[in-house]
Structure formats: structure tokens, C-alpha cells
């Protein structure tokens, strides 16, 4: 495996006496999507601000695409794309003008704004003022803006926030395409389901600390409680049995539950990322 697209070691940041990020380490490979999960105030935004050059870390080091942040901020910022949670678009300008302006900031004079707009399903709204856009349309434009410079690293803060399920799916597809193209993606979200579907790995962050980083599958296997729910007819009545698979003798109990009964339904139950987050953080994402 080559050099990581993002390598973060021991970064810290405090606002006054309040420690927002404390000794955070992680890395993201090229073509990898890392989901950054945590409740409000966990340190996600501060971490992204340090990674994108908005804040200078008070300790530790950040390497992006082999360059140091913030020492080489200008070169790094030419190769990253950022979609903020706040829809900070120029609302008196059209969608197309927004993209063309940001293209110029990256030195792209011949930006194919229409192609970008088409990718986020806004091809027919390019000449409309952003002020007339719905929240979902603004969110899609934010994603398009983050892709203006064909970035090698993408920072996406709540990328599907406010989108309907169809639009969310379309945006997830765009993110997967970007990762497949080779971009490293750091995505923050409150939506565990989205993180599960989209991320190659997830990092749980709480109170400024990264609690764990692994693939969703590994986290569920290692820390989740699996069970089987069996519904069967026995002596004319329906009997439901829930059997934890992580306890000794689980195989036998499943066989007994099915036995010579008339099997009606059988469901496997897996822990969700939210369940595992609660195990680590002692609270949910909404807390």
C-alpha cells in the first residue's frame, strides 16, 4: 500500500481552555471513504477545519497528499474539495455562476459547469438563482462545488442532509464514483445508516477523542450482539424465541427452536452502528 492520502497524528485543538480535539490519529487511503461519526460537539468540525486549513493545529501533524498542513496549505487546498454542512453558496448568483466562480479560484478557466450540474441532477436549473433553490437543491450544488477541481481528497460534512431518499441515493453514487476515481473521502454524518452503506471504514469520535476506527462489518462482528428470532407453530399456538448467537450453546438452541415445529419465520438480527457507538461512547449520536 502506498502513502496515505491523509495522515493525521496526535492533533490537538482547544478553544480557550476547552479541549475540542485531543490527540487524534487516523489515516485515509486513496479511493477510501472514511465515515467520521460523532454527536454535536464531538470534535468532527474542528478536525475538518484543521485538515482544510481553516485552523492551525496546536499540536500534532497533518499530511495530505504527502504535503504538510498548514505549511503547504495553498498547494493542498488546490487539490481538495470541501462541502460544508452550512449551505454557504452565493444566493444572488445562479448555480452555474457559483461553479464558474469557484473554478476560477482554482485556475480553471474552461470549467464544464453543465457536466457537474448534470451529475447532481441540476442540469436544467443551472441558470436559476440559488436563492430560488430548495434546501435539497442547495445541498446538491454544494456537492457539485466540491468537485469543481476534480479533487484528490474530498471533505463532505453531512452530504445527504436535507435530501429526499432518491436524491440521497444519487449523491451516495456520486461519492462512490469519486472514490472509485481515486479520491480519498472523509465524510461526517449523524446518519449511521448512511455511514454503514457508504463508508469503507468508520471512526467514532466523542469528546475530542477517536474511540475506534474499523470497517462497519468488523465493528459489528467484534462489538455487536447478534441474535436469531424464530417464530414457529407448536401445539396450535405461535411461539417466538430470540436466541443470542454470541452466547455458548447458541447453535443447539437454534436447532431446538426450529426442531420438529412448523417454522413460520426466522430473522437474523445484527447490531447497528448506533448500538456499537453507544457501547463506546456511553451515549447516542443525538445525545
Amino acid at each position: 500500500m502506498g502513502e496515505a492520502a491523509i495522515q493525521v497524528q496526535g492533533i490537538r485543538y482547544s478553544y480557550g481552555g476547552q479541549r475540542a480535539v485531543d490527540d487524534v490519529d487516523f489515516h485515509i487511503e486513496r479511493s477510501e471513504i472514511l465515515g467520521f461519526l460523532g454527536p454535536n460537539g464531538a470534535g468532527k468540525s474542528t478536525t475538518i477545519k484543521m485538515l482544510t486549513g481553516q485552523l492551525r493545529p496546536q499540536a500534532g501533524s497533518i499530511s495530505i497528499l504527502g504535503m504538510s498542513m498548514p505549511q503547504q496549505a495553498e498547494q493542498i487546498q488546490g487539490r481538495i474539495g470541501v462541502a460544508f454542512e452550512e449551505k454557504n453558496l452565493y444566493t444572488n448568483m445562479s448555480a452555474r455562476e457559483n461553479l464558474v466562480f469557484f473554478g476560477r479560484l482554482f485556475g480553471i478557466g474552461d470549467l464544464d459547469a453543465d457536466e457537474l450540474l448534470a451529475r447532481v441532477d441540476l442540469a436544467d436549473r443551472g441558470r436559476d438563482r440559488v436563492a430560488e433553490f430548495s434546501k435539497g437543491m442547495r445541498q446538491r450544488l454544494m456537492i457539485a462545488r466540491a468537485l469543481v477541481n476534480t479533487p484528490d481528497v474530498l471533505f463532505l460534512d453531512e452530504p445527504t442532509d436535507g435530501l429526499d431518499p432518491v436524491s440521497s441515493q444519487a449523491i451516495r453514487e456520486v461519492i462512490r464514483q469519486e472514490a472509485a476515481r481515486g479520491a480519498a473521502v472523509l465524510l461526517t454524518t449523524h446518519d449511521m445508516n448512511e455511514a454503514d452503506k457508504l463508508s469503507d471504514r468508520v471512526a467514532f469520535i466523542n469528546e475530542g477523542h477517536v474511540l475506534v476506527i474499523d470497517t462497519p462489518e468488523n465493528l459489528k462482528i467484534a462489538h455487536g450482539k447478534r441474535s436469531v428470532r424464530v417464530r414457529a407453530r407448536h401445539d396450535g399456538s405461535v411461539v417466538e424465541t430470540i436466541i443470542p448467537l454470541d452466547e455458548p450453546g447458541a447453535d443447539e438452541r437454534v436447532k431446538q427452536a426450529v426442531g420438529d415445529r412448523e417454522l413460520l419465520t426466522i430473522h437474523t438480527q445484527e447490531a447497528t452502528l448506533e448500538d456499537i457507538f453507544i457501547q463506546f461512547a456511553g451515549r447516542g449520536l443525538g445525545a
Partner: protein, 358 residues
Amino acid sequence: MISLRIVWAIIRKDIAEMTRNKFFVYITILGLIAYVALFWALPSTVNETLKLGVRGTGADALISQMAGEEGLELTSFDSVDALEAAVESGAITAGIDFPDDFLDSITAGTTTTVSVYVPADTSAEVRTAVSGMVKELAFIVAGSSLPVTPPAEDEIVLGQDRAGDQIPFKDKLRPLLAIFLLMMEMMSLASLIAEEIRSKTVTAVLVTPTRTSDFLAAKTILGTGLAFAEVALLMAAIRAFSTEPLVLLVALLLAALLVTGLALLAGSTGRDFIEILLVSVFLLVPLMIPAGAALFPGTAATWIQVLPSYGMTQAIVRASAYGAGWAETVPYLLMTIGWCAVIFALGVLVLRRKVETL
């Protein structure tokens, strides 16, 4: 290091945004038209003749004796009622009523009273001047002369003698019109900056290869350029460039830079249009005082002379109305450069801090 490519991109974007803000577009155009119309509606000549009405003993003799006196026009009235009516209508500045026993009293060496009629809104200075003139006229009516030996020279004039060549009021109004227009421009730029901060679009800009210095340079160039272009257009329309155009252009450029510095400050501190308006008024009212004082030469108190716009105002008035060249205006231009440096540095510092801590 500032990137000219990025600065130009931001300026293009800002111009597009500004031209879509209909309020500022209309108010700038309408303001420009109104200021030009006001200037040309004001009289171009100066009439400083004092019109006095006289009634009573010796009035006709007085009038014939004073005929041809420069700056004084005497009219005889038959009755006190007619004299009062002329004062009230504004036909004369003041009316003087010599009592019928005036000459007898003078001859007898007794005290007598001369009535002076002035409109209610007459200033204290004019009243004092008229009272002094009444004493002189009373001597003439009594057939005496003032107990003062006339000086060998009429008067000693300091500076260029403008007797008979006074500056029309409207020419002294130019700096005030310029500041009104610059105020609009300042509010327009301040609103643009405040909106970028409020909506955090500046944050999106600053995670591209754009540096804070690029952002500040773009705002400075745009603000100064627009303010200078507008105020230069106004000055051209009110015929201010007929004398010393280069001095005036430099003064206007400094004025544009000064208000741009203020716009950076106002934009950093205001969050919406109302706040921008309040901050702008707070910053601009002191700037108007020297321009107002320029309408009445010699009235600028010391504290007015230390206000940031004093040098600029003096340079504009002196270059455009009095034809003053570099030698006379350099001290005022240097004063303005000093203030520009202070205000601009403060504006840049505050705005930089604001955008970098969003």
C-alpha cells in the same frame, strides 16, 4: 503573495453581486443625479450686497450721500408699517427708523433711540453688524463723521485677495456632495462584506487556493475603484476639474481609499443592512463635519481639523474652487494619506481577524 488571477476572479464575482443589489444600484444612480441637479440648481454668482431700509429724518439725504457705496443698498420708506412689511417679506435685510426728533435731539445733545427692524431668523452676527452700521449712519445723518482716523491702507489681506471674486456657495458644497456619494459606496461594499461573513461564503473561498490577502486585496481594489470612479464622475459633472485636475484626482483617490477602509471596518462589525447602516452613519457623520465647515471658511475649530476627512475636504475645495496647486494642497493630502494608512490598516486588521476566525 497576492494572486492577481484570484483577485480578479473575486472582483468579477463581486461586481456581478453588486449590480444585482437593486437598492444600492438605484440609490447610487439617483444620488448621483440628485447631487448634480442640486449643484446646478444653486446660483453661480455671489450677491453680498446688504439691503437696508431707512425711514425718518434725513433718510433721503443719507441715501444720496451713500449712493455708490459698494455692498450697500439703501431704500427710503415713508412709514414704519411699510418698513416693517419690507423686512418681513425679506425685501430688505434690516430696516432703520430714525425718530422724527432725531436731529433735534442730536443738536440738543440729548439721548435718542433709533429703532432697527430685523427678521426673526436673523443671526446674532448680522444683528451686531447692522447695529454697528446704524451708529455710522447716525453720524452721517447728524452731519458728523466717525471719531476714527481711517487707516492708511483699507485692509491687510492675508492670502489671495478675493474681494469681488467670491466663491459661490455651490463650489464650496462639492466635498459634501462627494462624501454623500462615497457614503453610498461605502455602505454597498460593507453590505457585500457583511453578507459574505454572515453566509460564510468567505469560508468556502478560503479553503480554495485563495489567501486572506487575496480576499482583502479584491475588496480593496473593488471598493476604491468604484468609489473613485463614481466620485470622479460626480466631480466631472459638477465641473470641478476646470482647475488643478491632477490635485483633485489624487484627493479623490485618497478619499475613495479612506471610505474603503471604513467599509472594511463596517463590513466586519455589521451583520445585516440595518447594522451596516448604523455603523456607517456612526463612522460617516464625523466625516461630514469638515465638509460642512468648508461651506463657511474660517469656521473650522481645532477639533474639526483633526477629523480624518478634514485634509481631504480642504484639498477638494482648494483645488476645485480656488484653483490651489500642489504647494498649497500637499499638507492636506499628506494629512489624508496619514488617516488613510491608519483607517485602512485598522479595517484590514479587523476584517482579517473576522474572516480567519469564522
